[in-house]
C-alpha cells in the first residue's frame, strides 16, 4: 500500500505562489473579501510562509510553501470529538465535512496551524461559480477544512487505471500544487517505494521535517537551501 508524501526543495522554490493559486482553484477554496482578510479570516490550504531565523541584523529568512504536512502522528485527529477527521490507510489526513461540528479543537491542536474554518457562507463572486471544480464539494459555513492532498485526483487516477486494466503508474496521481510548480521544486510520490524520487530525496542530507521535535512525523519533507545545508547558521 502506498504512503503518499511530498518533498519541497526550498533551494528551487521561488516563492511565486503558483501552488497557492492552483490549490485555491482546484479545491474550490472560497474567496475572502479584503476587509475579512484584514480580520484574519483567510482560508488557505497551502500558504507560503516566511520563516525567520536569528536576531537582527543576522537574520535569515526563507519562504516555505506549507500545505498540511499529513503527519503520521497527527495531533489534530486525536482531539476531534466526533471523529470527523482521520487518517486513511495511505496516510492522507482527511476531513469529513458533513460530520464536523465546528468546535475548532483540531485547528487549535495542529502545531502548524494548517487547518481553516469557514467563518461564513462561502462566496464565489461573478464567474468564479462557473470555475468551480465539480470533483470537490463546496463546504458549508461552520466547518473546518484542510488540504486533502487532492484526494479526488487519487480517486480519478485509480478509476482511470482500473478502466485501462493496469496498476497505478508513477505520475498518475499528482496534487495540483505539485503539478503547477514552475520551478519544479515540489515532488510527489510514494514514500513506501524505495525507488521513488520522493523517498530518495527524503533520505538526502538536505532533508528536514518541519518542527520534527514535536514527534508528529510529517510526510511533507523539505530540502534546505544551500546556505542552510548542514544545519545551524550563526
Amino acid at each position: 500500500m502506498p504512503r503518499w508524501g511530498m518533498v519541497i526543495d526550498l533551494a528551487k522554490c521561488t516563492a511565486c505562489q503558483a501552488c497557492v493559486v492552483a490549490c485555491q482553484a482546484e479545491n474550490n477554496v472560497p474567496c475572502v473579501e479584503p476587509e475579512q482578510a484584514a480580520k484574519g479570516r483567510i482560508i488557505s490550504w497551502l500558504s507560503v510562509l516566511p520563516d525567520l531565523k536569528g536576531q537582527y541584523p543576522n537574520v535569515l529568512m526563507r519562504l516555505m510553501p506549507l500545505p498540511c504536512l499529513h503527519c503520521d502522528e497527527p495531533p489534530c485527529i486525536r482531539v476531534c470529538p466526533v471523529g470527523a477527521t482521520g487518517i486513511t490507510p495511505e496516510g492522507i489526513v482527511r476531513q469529513t465535512f458533513p460530520r464536523c461540528i465546528g468546535c475548532r479543537y483540531c485547528t487549535n491542536a495542529c502545531p502548524y496551524t494548517r487547518r481553516s474554518f469557514n467563518w461564513r457562507l462561502p462566496d464565489f463572486p461573478g464567474e468564479l461559480v462557473q470555475a468551480l471544480n465539480p470533483d470537490v464539494s463546496v463546504r458549508p459555513k461552520g466547518v473546518v477544512e484542510k488540504c486533502t492532498l487532492c484526494h479526488h485526483r487519487l480517486l480519478r487516477a485509480r478509476e482511470q487505471a482500473r478502466a485501462e486494466d493496469r496498476p497505478l503508474a508513477v505520475g498518475d496521481y499528482v496534487p495540483a500544487c505539485v503539478e503547477i510548480c514552475p520551478a519544479e521544486a515540489m515532488y510527489f510520490g510514494d514514500l513506501e517505494d524505495p525507488n521513488s524520487k520522493v523517498s530518495e530525496l527524503a533520505e538526502s542530507a538536505r532533508a528536514f521535517r518541519y518542527l520534527e521535535e514535536l514527534g508528529t512525523e510529517p510526510k511533507v519533507v523539505f530540502l534546505s537551501e544551500g546556505e542552510w545545508a548542514g544545519g545551524e547558521q550563526t
Binding site: 484574519g40 479570516r41 470529538p81 461540528i101
Partner: protein
C-alpha cells in the same frame, strides 16, 4: 386529601421568615426580572444573528480560533464548584456552620452548569450537528471526556441539591400556599418518619462523598482540553490541579456574593451571620495563596525552561500585549483578596464581599489569559491580528450572566434558599454531636469539666 394541616408558618417559629420570599413577592423582584430578561433576549437575538451569519460575526480569526466563549465555558464550570464541592466537604467534615449555607451553594452549581454547557454550544460552528457527539463519539478526544464528566456532574449535583430539599418541599406542601400540586409531586410523600429520615441522611452522605471526585474530575478534564495539546503554555502537567484550585477559588467568591445579596434582600442576617462570611473569607484567603503558588510555579517553570515557543507566549503575558490583563489578574486574584482577608480584624463582611468581586474578575482574566495568548502565538509564523470580542460575543456573555442570576432569583421564589430542616436539626442535635465528638478525642473526658452542655441533651 390532607389528613392534618401541620405546616402553618407559625409552627416553624422564627424560621418562618425563610418562607417569606416564597409567600410574598415585592415589586422590586419584577423590576429585576424585567432587567435580567432584557439581557436574556439580547443574547437570544445575538445568537440568532450568529446562527444566521456564521461565526464570522465574532471577533475570532486565524489563528485565534477560540475566544471568550471558551473563556466563559471554563469560567462557568469553575463557578459551579462553589456549591457541590464546598457543601460536600463541609458536610463530610461535620462543620456545623454549614447548615444555613449549603443550599445557597448547591443551587449555584446546578444552574451555572447549564451556562457552561451553553457556552460550548454557542461556540460551535454547527450546533445543528451537536448530536454527532453521541452518534460518532471519539473517546480519544478530551472534549468528549468533558461531555461525559460534565453530564455526570450535572446529574450528581442535581440529585445532591434535590435530596436535602425534600423535607423542605414537604413543609411547603403542608403549608398549602401556591403550587401545592408541584410541591406534593416533588415531596415524594415525605412524612418525616424515622425510617425516611434515616434513608435520607444515608443518601445525602453517600452523594456528598460521590460528588467530590466527580467535581474534581470535571475541572481536571476541562483543563486537559488545553493540556493535552502540544501548544506552548497549554501543554502543562500542572493544569489539572491549577484549574481545580482556580475553580474552587472562584466558586467560594461567587458563594460569598450570593449570600451577601440574599441576606440583604431577604433580611436573613440571622442565617448568614458575620461568622459565616469570616469563615468563607478564610477559605478564600487560603485559595488566594494556593492560586498564587500555582501561578508562580507554572510561570517560573516556563521561564526557566527557556523554550522559544513557550517563551514568546510567556513574554506576551508578562511584558507584551497581554500584560495589562495578566497583571490585573495578579492584583485582583492575589493582592486585593490577600490584603483584605489576611487578618481577622479587617476581614469584615464588606471587605470579604469586595475581595470576592475582585476574585471573580481576576479568575475571568485568568481564563482569558490562558485561552487567548497561546492561540495568538503559534509555532508557525502567522498573521498578526488582534482578537477583540464583538457585540455578539459580549451580548451573549452578558445574557448568560444575567439569565443565571435570574434563574437563581427564581429558585428562591419557589424553594427556601436556607435549608429549614437542617437548621432546625442543628438546634436539636448539633451541640450534643459536637460534645460527643470532643469527648471522643479528649483524654479522660470525665476527669475535668468539659463545659456545661447538658442542657442540649434533649
Amino acid at each position: 386529601m390532607e389528613s392534618k394541616p401541620k405546616g402553618k408558618p407559625e409552627d416553624l417559629g422564627p424560621d418562618a421568615v425563610l418562607l417569606q420570599p416564597i409567600v410574598a413577592t415585592r415589586s422590586s423582584f419584577y423590576i429585576l426580572t424585567m432587567v435580567f430578561l432584557g439581557f436574556t433576549s439580547l443574547s437570544c437575538f445575538a445568537y440568532l444573528y450568529q446562527l444566521r451569519w456564521g461565526l464570522g460575526v465574532t471577533g475570532l480569526n486565524v489563528p485565534m480560533y477560540w475566544g471568550i466563549y471558551i473563556t466563559n465555558f471554563v469560567f462557568f464550570i469553575g463557578i459551579s464548584h462553589a456549591g457541590t464541592l464546598i457543601s460536600a466537604i463541609l458536610r463530610i467534615c461535620h462543620a456545623e456552620w454549614r447548615r444555613s449555607i449549603t443550599r445557597a451553594a448547591e443551587v449555584i452549581t446546578v444552574i451555572v452548569l447549564f451556562f457552561g454547557v451553553g457556552s460550548i454550544i454557542v461556540d460551535l460552528g454547527r450546533p445543528d450537528r451537536l448530536l454527532n457527539v453521541l452518534l460518532y463519539p471519539n473517546f480519544r478526544s478530551p472534549l468528549l471526556w468533558d461531555v461525559c464528566s460534565v453530564s455526570v456532574y450535572l446529574m450528581a449535583s442535581s440529585i445532591y441539591l434535590y435530596l436535602p430539599l425534600i423535607p423542605d418541599i414537604a413543609i411547603l406542601r403542608d403549608y398549602g400556599g401556591k403550587y401545592t400540586w408541584l410541591y406534593r409531586l416533588l415531596a415524594l410523600g415525605w412524612s418525616g418518619s424515622e425510617r425516611q429520615q434515616r434513608i435520607l441522611n444515608k443518601a445525602i452522605s453517600v452523594m456528598a462523598v460521590l460528588v467530590i471526585p466527580i467535581a474534581v474530575s470535571v475541572h481536571t478534564v476541562v483543563s486537559w482540553v488545553f493540556g493535552m495539546t502540544v501548544q506552548p503554555m497549554w501543554h502543562s502537567t500542572i493544569f489539572g490541579p491549577y484549574f481545580v484550585v482556580g475553580a474552587i477559588f472562584s466558586g467560594i467568591a461567587s458563594l460569598i456574593i450570593a449570600m451577601a445579596l440574599i441576606r440583604r434582600i431577604y433580611f436573613l442576617q440571622e442565617y448568614f451571620k458575620d461568622i459565616h462570611f469570616s469563615h468563607l473569607g478564610t477559605l478564600l484567603m487560603v485559595f488566594a495563596l494556593l492560586w498564587f503558588y500555582f501561578t508562580f510555579a507554572e510561570n517560573l517553570t516556563t521561564f526557566y525552561g527557556h523554550e522559544p515557543a513557550h517563551l514568546q507566549v510567556f513574554y506576551s503575558k508578562l511584558t507584551g500585549r497581554f500584560a495589562p490583563l495578566f497583571w490585573t489578574m495578579v492584583v485582583t486574584c492575589f493582592v486585593i483578596p490577600a490584603g483584605l482577608l489576611f487578618h481577622r480584624r479587617i476581614r469584615t463582611v464588606r471587605n470579604t464581599v469586595i475581595a470576592s468581586f475582585s476574585v471573580l474578575i481576576g479568575m475571568y482574566l485568568e481564563r482569558y489569559t490562558i485561552v487567548v495568548p497561546t492561540l495568538s502565538l503559534p509555532r508557525v509564523p502567522s498573521d498578526t491580528v488582534f482578537y477583540t470580542p464583538t457585540w455578539v460575543e459580549i451580548s451573549i456573555t452578558l445574557g448568560f450572566g444575567a439569565t443565571f442570576i435570574f434563574l437563581y432569583m427564581l429558585f428562591t421564589k419557589f424553594f427556601p434558599i436556607v435549608s429549614i430542616w437542617e437548621v432546625q436539626e442543628g438546634r436539636k442535635v448539633a451541640l450534643r454531636e459536637a460534645r460527643e465528638r470532643i469527648e471522643a478525642y479528649t483524654p479522660h473526658p470525665t476527669a475535668g469539666d468539659l463545659g456545661t452542655l447538658e442542657t442540649a441533651q434533649d
